[in-house]
Subunit: 109 residues, 2 copies
């Protein structure tokens, strides 16, 4: 399975601080429309829309139209190419991931 292109897309989408902040905000809010994201962003509404398109293309967010509002939500599995990459090239971090998983299972079995 050739996953390199997807890794490039995901990492590329997260590379820009402004765009990453938009994504973080969506994750925290659960769901957010463009107006909400624009307030809080340091750029214009069109810029936010462009970032949202980039995130959508990378598979990191999905949209849900509701009247004239468009609600964006994070797409969990969108990060998996990056997680997979880290599980290979993150070397000893692999242990960390494993530990974190077991920790979560212990806390919440």
């Amino acid at each position: 399975m050739r996953a390199a292109p997807r890794v490039t897309a995901v990492i590329g989408a997260l590379a820009d601080p402004t765009r990453r902040a938009v994504f973080e905000r969506i994750v925290e809010a659960g769901e957010a429309n463009v107006a909400f994201l624009t307030k809080g962003a340091s750029v214009s509404q069109p810029a936010v829309s462009q970032h949202l398109r980039a995130l959508k293309t990378a598979g990191l967010v999905a949209e849900r139209r509701e009247g004239r509002n468009v609600h964006y939500r994070a797409e969990p599995q969108g990060l998996s190419p990056l997680v997979d990459w880290l599980s290979v090239y993150g070397m000893f971090w692999r242990e960390r991931f494993a530990n974190l998983e077991t920790l979560l299972k212990e806390i919440d079995p």
Copy 2:
């Protein structure tokens, strides 16, 4: 603790496919000099050196001079800003799913 700049640096360094391939090659080889990395890369030797500098600046590789050769090795902890970021904005989801599972079990045991 304000880690966003380091995340940006790390992700930015890994965003370019060519540069990421250089890093992957270093990880796989354990240690590699510039000539070795240039063979196998699809770009010129100066381009490889420039990528190495970017990786070094991001804290992802370190160098060891040996005569006229310079050996590069991966710097494991350099990835930690990215791992930490994922543990917040990526792992977050696993936790959510775990909670959802327990919730479902409680409702319908």
